[in-house]
Point group: C2
Chain length 511, copies 2
Amino acid sequence: MNGAQAVIRTLVGGGVDVCFANPGTSEMHFVAALDDVRSMRAVLTLFEGVATGAADGYARMAGRPAATLLHLGPGLGNGIANLHNARRARSPLVNVVGDHALTHKRLDAPLESDVDALAGAVSGWVRRSLTTGEVGADVADAIAAAARGQVATLVLPADVSWGDGASVAAVPARRPAPHPAPEVVDDVARVLGSSTVLFLGGGAVGEAGLRAAAQVAAGTGSRLLAETFPARMARGAGVPDVLKLPYPPDAAREQLAGVQHLVLVGAVEPVAFFGYPGTDGRLVPSGCTVHVLATPAEDAVAALQQLAELAAPGATPAVADARRPGLPTGALELRTLAEVVGALLPEHAIVVDEALTSGRFLPGATVGAPPHDWLTLTGGAIGQGLPAATGAAVACPDRPVVSLQADGSAMYTVQALWTQAREGLDVTTVVCDNGAYAILAAELENVGATSGGERAGQLLDLGGPSLDFVALATGMGVPATRATTAEELATQFRTALAEPGPHLIDAVLPR
Amino acid sequence: MNGAQAVIRTLVGGGVDVCFANPGTSEMHFVAALDDVRSMRAVLTLFEGVATGAADGYARMAGRPAATLLHLGPGLGNGIANLHNARRARSPLVNVVGDHALTHKRLDAPLESDVDALAGAVSGWVRRSLTTGEVGADVADAIAAAARGQVATLVLPADVSWGDGASVAAVPARRPAPHPAPEVVDDVARVLGSSTVLFLGGGAVGEAGLRAAAQVAAGTGSRLLAETFPARMARGAGVPDVLKLPYPPDAAREQLAGVQHLVLVGAVEPVAFFGYPGTDGRLVPSGCTVHVLATPAEDAVAALQQLAELAAPGATPAVADARRPGLPTGALELRTLAEVVGALLPEHAIVVDEALTSGRFLPGATVGAPPHDWLTLTGGAIGQGLPAATGAAVACPDRPVVSLQADGSAMYTVQALWTQAREGLDVTTVVCDNGAYAILAAELENVGATSGGERAGQLLDLGGPSLDFVALATGMGVPATRATTAEELATQFRTALAEPGPHLIDAVLPR
């Protein structure tokens, strides 16, 4: 067995049976081995950022890692932005980066670069495989490392792949996350009350976590807040409705004003996304004590359930009622766009939200829709939505994926649409087309920069020429339509959801 | 004056008056300052790889650096592949990467990442600017570093930009490259003859360098070869026609067989692009002595001129005759595609060649065309062609740019087309549309991987769905047509060249 075959067999044996690939010459043995190991599903992407973003979306929904297959340092570079988002989502991910043969490395060939330095900057675990005999074991270690909620990067030299004498390594069963010590739960129970906020993230914003947290809230008067950009949040009718901490620092501070105890559950202490002149980036009010019920590496659900049993036994969690907005008519604007989504969102939908400024009204319009999962841009590196939707659809072929996508951000990894078409994935993309980097126009003011200048404005404007997302999508094999009124959006959204395979709707918003 | 204003003014004062930008929140003061310093031309790109590739293409044609403006670690990540190509081209480039405010850095906000590690992996010079008072001097140092033929990355924290009390720094005049010591030239002169090859790269493949090298060849019987992927090579009628060392290792070894002295002139010793099982990656035959007339950091033209004066005074360099292929008719295939380009290539064209396997017949078909420059994929990181064509067109608004582009590679940075449309750049893109990663099909065999497997084949195939480059281009505002015969390509290519602004032709090749 050659190294590449052992890599793929060890991956599959360890439960990693999907690989989002963008291979080159140094990965050709891996590609050839796909015909020997048919239980590995290889999904071709046209750009590495699609591969890494898809692996992130896959992991969030499947709860286990996919592999990537990238080509040398430049290929890894192209994947870095979405590896960053995966790192912030604590997504398990086995990032396989092919490299020159060990014998070729010192020749400084044109594609030679410092792969290891790039890998180290975005990975929780990195190893360069050095011998064919041990590459199976290296892969097993990578899977185990990924399972701890991190990007595990295996650098795979071409001659380690093509060498003979490899063997498959067994991957130990995934070890469950640790529970917090009982005294931690006791300590937190003592500070619950109306001036306490449970700040929820990671596993705590899944359905079981939210339910336990809502029981605590119901029984103790504590408030609940979720992190601003959760990796995957359960929402909808019958699920506790928890407000996400707002993105604008002032609005976030308002939510936290007067809080005396902030209890972190699967989340880290909230800070402002960016620094602004003359303001403190920390959001927690002075005088507020921060407690940690569960770190992101611990079992937040178990912690909340223990806390609920101790502090609020028998209390009934409040959940969202089933209610949808009516189908709107008239102008297509942020509110009517959200109402269409809320009115038509199918049961068990996976919503991938990179709508940014266009998403303002989405939470309110969808809170009572049938139960669904909501995936957000965890690391702020735009260009994650279309790839993550792709990966989520691969992970959950029986669930509809709704990809709500800002226009500027869509262009970073627009190649994801081709993979959606090739794989026949059931993804409905709604491009929130306002023709601008609208978020930056706001930030230009937030940072106190002189705004309104014509030349500055040009750098925030996506017009001249306007992007035609219908043409872009159809150019990659995704059927697409354009909606300019609320009625058109409703009709097109309903049709797209009803038909299998990918669709894109260019939702034209006021400029 | 705030830091951002000092940055831009120092750039402009140092001759860097074009900035390829993809900014975010941390760069908003830089953006605002564009209205204060109107001599800086900011060119918006929709993806960072377009910005860095454009800066590379600009530098190759302008002979001086452009700046980039990128957003934090993920933005830098997106730019890495084309920074890698720029590094291999020895292009001067001032790579400005905005980062969180210094006061925000330790909060580990969602977009926090190890910018410095990423920068170090692809830059010849890196500095994190730490105070507003010194940021002007930091920029001056960056420009001086870039002028030495490297990527100079300045990490620019937001508060260094928005702080007051900055000042503009003067940039010292660019120091000319050193000449080799006379005894180096003497030593090389002694080994010239029929078993000697001058291996030319960097400045040596510009017109003056080629002329001096051809004089040496004419007077001494030495042969000339150029590096496989030169940054910018002068070609065409009246220019010495020098063969580039072939990409396939066997063909390269054939060219070098029997050579006893290999003289490097602005190039490094040639090695195989990739390692292959059982073969040595070095290409220089055993027993051949390698000499260095000029390192890439030295003045290769001066070295060649000194050598010509010493070893071949009065010899007449052989140059290519003016001759073009006739306009072909019939099927559109690699040969007829090359003949159309050769028949119609305008004078002083800049050819950006990322045609890869589709470019086989281009050298022969264009050797006698009117004088032109030829830019290639120096570092092997695909997705360089469209951005480099964009930057070259910004550098040389009076010269037509012809962008010969493989289809698979085109998709990595296809967003460049939008910038070409927005800026009205005179770029004619010909997509060599064979519907496959054809180069990988060859490499699958070269590395000895079992080929022909159906699943492996799927990873090299761009069909299902086919990419519609006409739709993609028009979706970004670039007029586009499709050519399926040689006549159609000729008509469309002629029209595109005659009209100002960007055009794209989808040249459909046999599958």
